[in-house]
Symmetry: C2
Subunit: 306 residues, 2 copies
């Protein structure tokens, strides 16, 4: 099934605890998500950039065979979203150094006609009103899932609550689940979020893995245990990309069932594990589907029970 | 195979974030470990208490069919070890309210002759010199594993390092692995610890599960996702008890291999998940092997991949 994602495209500056600083990196939630999802299915990206967006970044995106950037609007006279972040020693937390919203302050990009038949919709992190407007353009979607962040829980909780009544799934961080519900226990937090409408909630715990709270069951997975963490930026987005890409590729009437989401979580975990091994998309650009399958098998062996 | 454990027996006072305070609870690393291990194999406990130790606690221990307390010495004129702890809101950290070492400041208890043929030795947390003296009483042990804690890393690192050159395995917390090695990444920390001698290191991450770094492979497991956390005291000890109990029960020449430890970790996870559902041994006293098997199957289903 075809998968559409709306999210940001950014030009990032990253500082890591080792003191390394990299500027002008291709980033953004939509970019990381779509690149990861493209290993599984056709991933359609809807996002806007300014006319300062480098041609080499467009070339980078085009290098991903399964990634369709027909919905990438280059807006004349606008500036691309720019973000800078500095990671703490633990690599799990970061400070934002700067945010230049640029084109994100303008009207969202239109959805190309050719994308209107998308069956699976992923609403990467943005204002819940923007996510809702996007969702309403796909009344026949078979599966819709949203991501969010602390900012929207703080300043737009009613709109986010409304969005939750209209999507099948929600993906968010451990801290955000607590912030939203007041419950630190992820299973309890997940159950409260289910009461707002979605069929499932995926709670991301970074290096500690994830927990799925689904109307039909609960599941937990560890992260892929790796020593090779260069830059965690985009880990959550590539996790969601692998998850949704796998769900869309599997398709069928089982879409969004407990079994289908549980199975897809492991693919999200694998894609995130590749992503953190480099800055930007460098690692994802260097691997093939064969590498993904090999790591999936290795990961499955690492968490094998009995 | 017979399993012997030396560790503490304590009378605990616990305060939980909900404001509940419970005094005079049966606790201690040896008690929690042996109770959990007794669901899998004969668990022999070597530990000392004072003559203030209540008869009802002896009765409680005797209620565990697989638990042999012939090595429990009641020392006249001595006081039982007492400890008080108060948990933080996150249930993952705690403050020590008081510690009365009592009998722990005296000579360690002797190992009964009938226990000298034990094949599997677990050295629960105590001073590494005490652990080493205990280990030396079992020159023919097939498998020996030690636990430790931050205090010994701070004040007795050379002795602990010496102990590591003589045991097959080490179990310790995430923070302690970092404290010992200077490496926050658990895989990196585990590899450094392997260089000191053991064949495997199990890094416990509490509610986030565990990571096994073995000379022959790496494995990660999530904790059992539960909403029902009443008191985490003894979670690490019951985890180790389930792990070692299962290893001893499986026996064979494969003892301590990557496959055997990986398989046993899931049993440790299950025993810890029961333990946190009550104060002291209340939950473990209320369950049967059938309950353990049922939760094991449920847990295996929760972390199933593919």
């Amino acid at each position: 099934m075809s998968l559409i994602v709306t999210g940001t495209i950014g030009i990032d500056t990253i500082e890591t605890p080792s003191g390394e600083r990299r500027e002008d990196l291709l980033g953004g939630s939509g970019v990381y998500f779509a690149a990861a999802a493209s290993f599984y299915t056709q991933a359609r990206l809807v996002a806007a950039v300014g006319d300062d967006f480098p041609q080499e970044f467009l070339d980078s995106l085009n290098d991903f065979e399964g990634l369709d950037i027909a919905g990438l609007e280059v807006r004349k006279g606008s500036k691309t979203f720019r973000w800078g972040g500095k990671y703490h020693e633990d690599m799990d937390h970061r400070d934002t150094l700067f945010t230049d919203l640029g084109v994100l302050e303008e009207a969202p990009p239109p959805v190309p006609e050719a994308f209107k038949d998308s069956s699976v919709v992923f609403l990467a992190n943005s204002h819940p009103m923007v996510q809702l407007n996007m969702l309403e353009q796909f009344p026949d979607a078979k599966l819709s899932v949203a991501d969010t962040m602390d900012l929207w829980i703080t300043i737009a909780k009613p709109e986010l609550t409304n969005l939750l009544s209209k999507v099948d799934g929600l993906v968010l961080n451990f801290d955000e689940a607590e912030q939203f519900t007041g419950h630190r226990n992820p299973v309890t937090a997940g159950r409260h979020l289910l009461e707002l409408g979605p069929r499932f909630v995926v709670i991301k715990k970074g290096e500690h893995g994830c927990i799925l709270v689904h109307k039909d069951g609960i599941c937990a997975l560890p992260a892929y245990p790796t020593e090779d963490v260069v830059d965690p930026t985009g880990a959550g987005d590539t996790f969601a990309g692998g998850l949704m890409g796998r769900l869309a590729a599997a398709g069928g009437h089982d879409l969004g069932s407990f079994g289908s989401v549980r199975e897809a979580l492991a693919h999200g975990t694998v894609m995130a594990s590749f992503n953190v091994e480099s800055f930007s998309l460098e690692k994802l650009r260097s691997i093939s589907r064969k590498d993904v399958h090999a790591r999936f098998d290795e990961y499955a062996d690492m968490v094998k029970i009995g």
